[in-house]
Subunit: 427 residues, 3 copies
């Protein structure tokens, strides 16, 4: 061990191990976001539609993992497995991802340029695609068929998301054009919001949401502690989402960067929550919890495109603007009769755009032009493709449950069970 070259190799290996471990821990936090979306959405729908939203969320996460493994990852990062899906399937017993991870010799020879396990990268990426899809389920809640939704999840996670992900993170034209999106205000959140919007337009509003004379009827969520829990899970998970997107932690500069990302992510959420709560108080007269929760999420979405350049006070303000914007957006979408039970289109779609456009404020390398190019490319691609896919599903399987089933709740018609059989007997 006293030989300097050998010792240098050991240090390089140790550095690789730290970065890989960091990546896995951050990925586990992002996986935890799936539980956050599940609880948030379960808290914001009515009791009679709760089991179905739970099933959609755990189902889409699983489907996302499988589809991204089979083809999504190799579409987004060509060459990730040499030969892609088909070779992968043909080498089922001998390797797939496993066989292509880095050898110690290669890592040492790279002098630190190869600094984490390929499989840790796959793990981190696969939980991202699940996040994008989770956004959709809330917006189409309480009236969509379970299996049509899961079929859409197959296409979004296996194809639509990876293509636009490739444009930026895989080295495609948005990367070349100088588009900035650190952890995915656009690629993940706007993507999910755009797919949700297409679905909601084709699906229509829930029965009773909008009256014949222009009334907008509030349909309160049945379990707000779950909504609060979901929000706090997402808040925690976002440290992994943004913190892991630095990709490296193993030297002073990188460690400082990850720490700044943690601080800014936290401050943006705090700013979003406080300003949404105050705006709701001034506008509606009460301290509206659901607006506060959406404000926190809006702060998180807003900072995701650039959590590294702003100061903590700057991050607070970017988040605060997101918090104000989300309240405005939720009210506006309701006026437009776009029925989004959990506010997902506002939180992820509208505020995702704000996040992209806010990048040039603090990051001198970003330009408004490149940000707009990225924004419209993602929006156009995801909305159009999603619209086509939803349309085809609608024309074949159908996407909406029968009116009778919507009235009695989709839990019974789609899942054959009730989420709270003992608590709602008086209904």
């Amino acid at each position: 061990m006293n030989d300097v070259t050998e010792l240098a190799g050991k240090v390089t290996e140790l550095s690789y191990a730290l970065d890989t471990f960091y990546f896995l821990v951050m990925g586990a936090l992002v996986m935890w976001m799936a539980a956050g979306f599940t609880m948030l959405e379960a808290g914001l729908v009515r009791a009679k539609n709760t089991a179905e939203i739970l099933t959609k969320n755990v189902g889409l996460y699983s489907i996302a993992c499988i589809m991204y493994m089979l083809c999504g990852y190799t579409i987004m990062y060509p060459g990730a497995y040499e030969g892609g899906m088909f070779q992968s399937l043909s080498t089922l017993g001998t390797g797939l991802l496993g066989s292509t991870d880095n050898s110690a010799a290669d890592v040492i020879a790279s002098g630190g340029d190869t600094y984490y396990s390929n499989l840790s990268d796959f793990f981190f990426q696969v939980v991202f695609v699940a996040t994008a899809m989770s956004i959709v389920s809330g917006a189409v809640a309480e009236r969509m068929k379970l299996w049509s939704f899961l079929l859409f999840a197959v296409v979004l996670t296996g194809f639509i998301y990876p293509v636009q992900g490739f444009w930026k993170w895989g080295g495609g034209f948005l990367e070349v054009a100088g588009f900035n999106d650190f952890a995915g205000s656009g690629i993940v959140h706007l993507c999910g919001g755009a797919a949700a919007l297409a679905g909601v337009i084709l699906l229509g509003a829930r029965k009773g949401k909008y009256g014949p004379k222009g009334e907008i009827n509030a349909i309160p969520g049945c379990n707000l502690p779950l909504a609060a829990l979901g929000t706090m899970i997402l808040w925690l998970g976002w440290f992994g989402f943004n913190g892991g997107s630095e990709l490296k932690v193993s030297d002073v500069g990188e460690a400082n960067a990850v720490a700044l990302v943690f601080v800014n992510t936290n401050m943006a959420a705090a700013g979003g929550l406080v300003f949404a709560l105050i705006l709701a108080r001034l506008w509606f007269g009460k301290g509206d919890l659901t607006m506060a929760l959406n404000g926190a999420l809006a702060g998180l979405v807003a900072i995701t495109a650039e959590p590294l350049a702003p100061t903590p006070i700057g991050a607070t303000l970017i988040g605060a603007a997101g918090g104000l914007l989300v309240v405005l957006s939720i009210v506006t979408l309701d006026k437009l009769r776009i029925d989004d039970p959990v506010g997902a289109i506002s939180v992820h779609g509208v505020v995702g755009m704000w996040g992209l456009l806010a990048v040039p404020i603090y990051n001198d390398e970003a330009t408004l032009g490149a940000q707009l190019l990225g924004l419209f490319s993602i929006l156009f691609w995801v909305f159009t493709m999603s619209f086509i896919v939803w349309y085809v599903i609608k024309a074949t399987l159908g996407i909406r449950v029968d009116e009778e089933h919507e009235y009695e709740g989709v839990d019974l018609s789609e899942c054959g069970l009730e989420a709270y059989p003992e608590f709602t007997s008086a209904e």
Copy 2:
């Protein structure tokens, strides 16, 4: 610091620190599984029995920690504290575990062979034993006396579990025989399942579960969002359960191995969920959420015996087989009138066996003979010992609550309070 020997020592220390930290983080994730079991079981019982299942779960976790500290750890790893329990008690003020951790000089002298803190190992192990015991509480739910259950927990965690744990992980005869069980499909999950089965047989089914003419009555869980949350907590915690069982992360090969374990664990759960959901759809006609959740858990149990050898696609298939098996097993146990309210015997016992038998498919060093030897040794030891202990408790304290108390709910009779006093008033 420029002296190479000194620098080499510092690198060895840093490597030790990384492995210890990794072990602690993974252990914290396993501890979190206790919350997962608690929520899962609370979601799947009726409201009137919820406070008692919560009490059992937090109680058993605490008892497991205390008993494993007092005697379990030293039974499973003889020599862990020189002199074992009795010396430990006699040195209460001066050291116990604390005094025996590794010195920097010893670590450096070992050249990296001593690579983590003894106390981090104890922490990781102690949360494992709690996991095994958590499996039992769900199966005996809704009719067992609280204190009889906690007494059983004392014996299982202090004696029954550590003995069979020693056989493999402590260097006993199953280790010598070439039995493979990476993170405990057998030692943890089958162990819990076998102990649960013995209890359920002596306890009998819940009143009303099976009718006199062979009817099987569904008794739905009262709070499915909690069941979904519990499953997702377990999924997250399993990254620690399997990922930490690699025991080391600090070089390229080990880091890659931990990453592969994370990926395979995740894929097996996804595979289990999707295939259980599809089978339930085909068989029962609906997208049954509880089967989907049990499918995910089955996938996790199935991959636990060998998450390092399969490719990610292979892991998906092992998990998928677990997901199919668990649905079959739950239906079959009901036909046999073995009443397991949460499906724990199927998920952990039956699928734990599948996990053990699946090892030779991908791991060339494993043999079916050694796997069968391990499987039957664990099953025989744990079932027999548990049966005896349950039997003695039944003959003395009794294990089952009065029929009247079962009817009104064990929360009032055992805990003196209700879990949801305001939600079930109409009952």
Copy 3:
């Protein structure tokens, strides 16, 4: 890379990266405690006051982050940003915390004395102040005005907490006097408990809690699974709270210390739970879940002042004493008609004192005199200042809702929505 000096620099950087990453992970666990308090308190209040307690908890966390960034951190650690708040505001676009983080050159030149990112320290500290404030919300639940509470949060987190935090952790007179408080039994928990006590005294008991003839009426919490979940979240988060307070993990001695802190934290909680459960059984005749949960939390609070000196058995006993004490304290406070719906004053205030006084038992460097000085300094400062602030708020905005609103629930009057609109219709 083969040059020894360069290699030594790289090792120093890697060590800095590991300590920073450890700090961030521990901080994320402490942030997660905010979710724990939220769920615990939501579970222990009545349904009609649930949305407001959720709003208070997410609101106070956000306010704590903002106030601590703006002025709290620089009060507690003078010089943390050169020039403090006012310079910070004037340099909004160029740096604040971000610009002052350590350069690689300075870290290497320090030879390891500078071993983590300043921003990671800020992140860890900011989640601590939120913890202190979270303690207050439970005690004043079910009758306090939302905005008066949030205003108090501004003052506590921006001023009252940081001043006494400076006394010890910022290098003030308690540090000089040899007061020992490893992770804050006094500075965090007693602080929160004292602020809560002042509020409760000025606020008065809930209507119906104490009858005219001295009756004490139990007001059961509406959702005990949430209370159990909250407790287990806190238990998990406490590994970060105590484990991160070691501040360093990157050599053998530090890694062993962090591991011991994890083990002792876990054992103290287990001891507290078991002994509180047994005492409740002996005293009240039943296995009272809420006492068991408070016992676990009491164990955690008790060990927080010194989790490094005791053996694991010693930690279990310190926690057990906390568990017994909390049951006594809850009963006693009720007799004194101090109405604390969740037991926060007992868990954090009373047991926090026990934690401080228990330090000299195992830590030879601690003296009872210094511990008493710290205890009374914190108690006097926080109670007096809080009393003044609550008093001023009471005299201006008012702190208590109208009797009518208290009767119908503060959710409707303060938040304009219900937490469980479908589950309590029979009420």
